[in-house]
């Protein structure tokens, strides 16, 4: 059966638990023989559940897992030619290293001489010669991890599953182990399926990355493909640092976002709502006059190989990585080369904008107080007798330490001629007819663009006021790292 190129195929795998929680839904994947595949995603995204279904610890609710073309989804784990390196290694504490590694071979009734030869060989492979009689408790984390790998590899599995095997190690050790594992994979030619939440680990080691979120595959691709061409905002945000902006195509290869108009290499019809992804290393600092957008440096951090510079430009924030430093407070310009901008068609057209918390602990946008309850937005907070906002630990919340992002749908914004009653004013810079309504982009006085749907026709360049009903907004709170 070695003629099939795919060693394992997952077809429409869905796993829901008794409490109704769907951990994995409609998961489709083909893994080639000898590939290094990584499942990458935040915790709770279903990556470990998928791995456990391949190992045989969980049975898919529906769908099938084909190993060399045969359905194994209901086989017991002990009859699958697949071995696992567990997250916390799961070494048997009552056995020494030799007995741990020999466990699998003994189950298969392998002759004693063969076992001892194989154990010796695999201990050499993981660089632990002479450790046979040592007990598990005397080993360091890194050594335990190597024993766990040896214990799995000695069975010569067709697929090796690794469930965050480097999670328990410190950073320095992790970097070494990444290379070690990568080399081991090259040497052995076994298929590796690796689970991690660490995007850097995934990018360094894998041939193929499966990015997952909320039980669904977001993107499958090579490390380069996923980094350079993320298919949606989640992948862009999760893989590497990125600046992500909502925007609109103003020409077939021209996009307006972050308060400026940029040339792009991606081609979309004019008027398409987009998400623009700009990697920090692709932003070029210029003099204020030469930049497509201007801004003020608000933060500079030295990161060894480069500086990480945060620039505030109107309502937007841009993070730049550069070998050149800048001074906090300096006014600079910024440009991005067309190939530094990755344009994704927007999944929805929700407007996101930063709102401020003022000294009285009320929410403000464009200097108007929003009539909403902050205690409902910030979990566990309440107001004390003087009206200060206090967090769950009883400390007064520092407005500078929080960033609150409000979201509102284009349908919920009302456009008006009467600018007096609006919260913010701006000019219509784009209009498209979308069947039963017009979709407008209003570029406001503070540099923030809003997408507004309205059934009536307005004209380009019209100066309008926007009414943003507070009850239609949703808020997310982000803590600022510093």
């Amino acid at each position: 059966m070695a003629n099939t190129e795919n060693i394992i195929e997952l077809k429409h795998i869905t796993k829901s638990f008794e409490d109704g929680f769907v951990a994995v839904s409609d998961f489709n994947l083909e893994v080639k023989r000898g590939e290094f595949v990584t499942f990458l995603g935040p915790s709770g995204c279903g990556k470990t559940t998928t791995l456990r279904m391949i190992a045989g610890f969980e049975t898919p609710t529906s769908g099938e897992i084909l190993l060399n073309g045969e359905d194994i989804s209901h086989l017991a784990p002990n009859v699958r030619p697949i071995n696992t390196v567990f997250q916390r290694y799961a070494l048997f504490p009552h056995m020494n290293i030799y007995e741990n590694i020999a466990f699998g071979l003994k189950q298969k009734k392998t002759p004693k001489e063969v076992i001892s030869k194989k154990v010796k060989k695999v201990l050499e492979l993981v660089d632990l010669e002479g450790f046979e009689r040592r007990s598990v408790a005397t080993l360091s984390g890194g050594q335990q991890q190597r024993v766990a790998i040896a214990r799995a590899l000695v069975n010569e599995p067709e697929i090796l599953l690794l469930d965050e095997p480097l999670g328990a190690l410190d950073l320095q050790m992790r970097k070494e182990k990444q290379l070690e594992l990568k080399n081991m994979h090259k040497e052995l030619g076994i298929t590796f399926i690796y689970v991690t939440h660490d995007q850097e680990e995934a990018l360094t080691m894998s041939d193929k990355i499966v990015v997952m979120s909320a039980g669904e595959i977001q993107q499958i691709g090579t490390p380069e493909g996923i980094y350079n061409e993320p298919e949606n905002a989640f992948v862009a945000d999760f893989i590497g640092e990125s600046n992500i902006f909502n925007g609109i195509m103003t020409g077939p290869m021209k996009a307006r976002f972050a308060g400026g108009e940029f040339e792009t290499v991606d081609r979309f019809p004019q008027g398409t709502q987009i998400t623009a992804v700009v990697r920090p290393e692709d932003v070029i600092m210029t003099t204020p006059e030469d930049g497509i957008i201007k801004g003020k440096v608000v933060d500079v951090i030295f990161k060894g190989m480069h500086y990480e510079i945060t620039v505030e430009s109107g309502r937007y924030e841009m993070v730049i990585q550069s070998t050149r430093s800048a001074a906090v407070g300096e006014a600079i310009g910024m440009t991005v080369e067309p190939d530094g901008i990755h344009v994704i068609k927007a999944e929805d057209e929700t407007n996101y904008f930063n709102v401020d918390m003022n000294k009285d602990h009320r929410l403000e946008f464009n200097e108007s107080v929003l009539d909403t309850s902050l205690t409902k937005i910030i979990k566990g907070s309440h107001r004390d007798e003087e009206g200060h906002l206090v967090d769950s630990n009883g400390e007064i919340i520092d407005p500078d330490k929080l960033r609150i992002v409000a979201a509102i749908k284009p349908n919920d914004i009302v456009m008006t001629d009467n600018v007096e009653e609006s919260i913010i004013e701006g000019a219509i810079t784009s209009l498209i007819y979308e069947g039963d309504h017009y979709s407008y982009v209003v570029s406001t006085e503070i540099g923030q663009d809003f997408i507004v749907h309205d059934e009536y026709l307005w004209n380009m360049e019209d100066w309008v006021g926007l009414i943003l009903p507070v009850d239609k907004m949703t808020f997310t709170v982000k803590t600022i790292k510093k």
């Binding site: 045989g56 610890f57 784990p77 002990n78 009859v79 071995n83 567990f86 799961a90 466990f103 069975n155």
Partner: protein, 263 residues
């Protein structure tokens, strides 16, 4: 007066001296003296030369041994099932098994006596069997709890690892779960074996005329032979110490299973 944390230990220190150290000294004094207060080892020699006392010792051992084995056979599967099954409300399940401990002892044993009389007719026909049934009924929770505690603390990925490496369900249990639950088993044994050598109240209440170690001490004291009775108590203490020393070498440093959660 300045209050220091050490002061918190005073109540217990007083208790320790009054109710542990002083009685022990008294016990030693009586065990090695005769009725006129002179030092003697005759009590010790007497115990090991009297065929009656030795016979009682052997009989008690037999009862304790069988009780312990029966308890273990009943408790292990129960504890294993409780610890590994996915009950949403484990606490309630444990309570059902432990609840008998909260019901008055004499009430339980009296009930047991009535049931046994109905089944057996005359309780005097099966003294050994009845002793074992009574002891098992009384001490079973003390076996379940430490085993349950040990098994429920085992990392489930250990059994998964064994399955992953090719072990059948049964082999995974035999090679991994069972050896790793030995500390709990030993705790359970030490909490069942020794008490069932001495708890003669159970036998008394079951109208059982046979003698175990506890009844022997009781009979000595009833006859105002403080010296002989103290020596037997001391010998039992020696056996307990010996047992603890041996099993301490076998269990690992993690003693959390010992004693059970309820004591």
């Amino acid at each position: 007066m300045k209050f220091s944390r050490k002061a918190l230990g005073i109540p217990y220190a007083v208790f320790l001296v009054l109710f542990v150290i002083a009685p022990l000294l008294v016990l030693f004094y009586f065990a090695f003296t005769n009725s006129s207060g002179e030092f003697t080892v005759n009590n010790l020699l007497g115990f090991f030369t009297d065929p009656n006392t030795l016979g009682t010792l052997c009989y008690s051992f037999a009862i304790a041994f069988v009780t312990t084995v029966v308890c273990l056979l009943l408790a292990y599967p129960t504890a294993y099932f409780l610890a590994t099954s996915g009950f949403s409300n484990k606490g309630a399940m444990i309570m059902i098994f432990v609840m008998p401990m909260w019901i008055n002892f004499s009430l339980r044993i009296t009930a047991l006596k009535e049931i046994l009389s109905i089944i057996e007719g005359n309780l005097a026909f099966y003294p050994f069997l009845n002793s074992v049934i009574g002891m098992t009924y009384d001490f079973l929770p003390f076996m379940i709890l430490p085993i349950y505690n040990t098994i429920s603390k085992l990392d489930p990925s250990l059994t998964e690892a064994a399955r992953d490496l090719g072990a059948t369900d049964w082999n995974a249990f035999l090679k991994v779960t069972l050896p790793l639950s030995v500390p709990g088993i030993i705790s359970g044994i030490s909490m069942v074996f020794l008490p069932s050598m001495t708890n003669y109240v159970v036998l008394d209440m079951l109208y059982n005329s046979t003698y175990i170690m506890g009844s022997l001490i009781g009979s000595y004291f009833a006859a105002y032979n403080w010296h002989g009775g103290s020596m037997i108590a001391l010998i039992l203490l020696g056996i307990i110490c010996l047992f603890t020393l041996v099993t301490d070498g076998m269990t690992d440093e993690d003693q959390t299973g010992r004693g059970g959660a309820l004591l």
